[in-house]
C-alpha cells in the first residue's frame, strides 16, 4: 500500500531533494521539536529522474530566496513549490549561491570566528564546497549544517 501524506493547502513543498538529505534540509529550515505547524518529511520516495528522492511539506510557511539558496548547497536539484488554496502558485529551482554570510558556524575549532563574535562568511567553490573567509579551510556543505 502506498505511503501517502495529505496534501497541504497553504505552504511549501520542497521536492527532488537528494535522497537522505531531507534531514539536513530540515535543519536549514530550522525545523526542530518545538516547531508547531504540520510538517512532513518523506524520504527515499521512488523517482523517475533521481531513483530515490526526499520530499518535505511544510504547512503555513513560504521559503524565501536566501533559504532556498542554502538548500541548494545540499540538494542542488531541489524544487520549491509554493502552495496557496491547494494550488501550486510558483515552482522554482534552487540556485547555488556564490557566498553565504552569517549563517553557518566554522567547523574548524582553531578558526578565529569561534573565539570572537564575528559574522562568518563562506565562499562556495566547486562541488558545493565552502571555504571559510577567515581560516581559508574548505568544507563540505554537510559539515557546516551538521
Amino acid at each position: 500500500m502506498p505511503l501517502t501524506v495529505q496534501k497541504i493547502s497553504n505552504g511549501t513543498v520542497i521536492d527532488h531533494i537528494s535522497a537522505g538529505r531531507g534531514f539536513l534540509v530540515m535543519r536549514i529550515l530550522g525545523i526542530a521539536e518545538s516547531y508547531s505547524d504540520r510538517v512532513a518529511l518523506l524520504t527515499n520516495v521512488p523517482s523517475k529522474a533521481m531513483g530515490k528522492k526526499d520530499i518535505i511539506k511544510i504547512e503555513g510557511r513560504l521559503i524565501d530566496k536566501k533559504t532556498a539558496d542554502r538548500i541548494a548547497l545540499l540538494a542542488p536539484q531541489a524544487t520549491i513549490n509554493h502552495i496557496s488554496n491547494a494550488n501550486i502558485v510558483s515552482k522554482k529551482l534552487v540556485e547555488i549561491p556564490s557566498q553565504i554570510d552569517g549563517i553557518f558556524k566554522c567547523p574548524n575549532p582553531k578558526c578565529i570566528t569561534n573565539a570572537e563574535r564575528v559574522t562568518t562568511n563562506f565562499a562556495v567553490e566547486k562541488n558545493q564546497k565552502l571555504r571559510c573567509h577567515h581560516c581559508e579551510r574548505l568544507f563540505a556543505a554537510e559539515e557546516l549544517v551538521a
Binding site: T113, E116, C132
Partner: protein, 300 residues
Amino acid sequence: MSDLISMRDLSRNDVEAYLRHAEKMEKSLRSSSPPKPRNKIVATMFFEPSTRTHMSFWAAAERLGCRAISLSGDKSSSAKGETLSDTVRIMSGYADVLVLRHPLEGAARLAADVSSVPVVNAGDGGNQHPTQTLIDLYSILRLKKKISGLSVHLVGDLRHARAMRSLLYGLSMFGAKITLCSPKALAMSDEVVREVQEKFSPSIRTTHEINLRDCDVLYVCRIQKERFEDQYEAARLQDEFRITKEQISAAPDDLAILHPLPKIDELPADYDSDPHAKYFQQASWGVPVRMAVLDRVMGV
C-alpha cells in the same frame, strides 16, 4: 591601501613585484648611507611568541627608516578579555601598518577587515605565513636565478607544516617541478594538492623515499612534534626521516638546502658549514623581503 594576508590573494604578478622590490631593498642594505628617516610607525602585534619573525620585522622596519612599536601577547589587553577586533581598531589609530602574529586561524583576515591601516600577516595558526613563502621564493631565485623548471623537493612533515603548504602554492605558481616527500602518515593533504593542480597544473610527484638524484633545491622542515598526540610516534618518525650525507652526495653538485628554521636534527650533524647549506643565508634574506613587504603595503 593593501594588506598581505594570504598567498591565495596574490597573483604571480603581485609575487614578482614583491620579489623585485626585495632585490632593491637588498641592494640598499649594502650601501653605507643610513636610510632616510620616514614619519611612519610599524606596530608589531605578537600574540604568540616567535622571536625570530618578530626581530626580523623589527629590523626591517628600522632599516626602512621607520619606527617600530610592539605589543606582545602577555602584556596586551587580550588577557583582560578585549577582543582582537577592538585591539586592532585601537592599534590602527597609533601606527601606519600592523604586523600580526596570532595562534588562531583567520586572525589576520579579521584584523584586515576592521583595521584602518594595512595589515601584514606574520602567521595565523596553521593557516598562512605569506612573508615566509616570499622569503623562500626569493632565496630560490637568488641562489638559482630562476624558479620555473627547477626540481624542488619538499621533505619532512608535509601534513602539519604550514610553510610547506604555502611554498607548494608559490612553487606551483612559478612552474617548478615539485617532489613531495614525507613519511606516509605525514603526507600533504589531498585537498591542498588538488587546489594547486586546479589553479596552476604544476608537475607534482609524491614519494615516501628520499632520493635527491635530480634535486636542485632541497627544502627540509622538522617533524612538528607538538602536533602529535603520540610523542613516541613523533620521535620514531623523526628518527626514520633524517637526511643522510649519502643521500645528499647523490644530488647534483650545486644542490641548495633550505630550511625555515628552527631545525632539530633533520640534517646531518655539523652540516651548517657545508657549501650546500643555505638556510642561514635564507634567514638573512628575511630582512630585505620584509622591508619590501612593509614598503609596498604602506604604498611606495
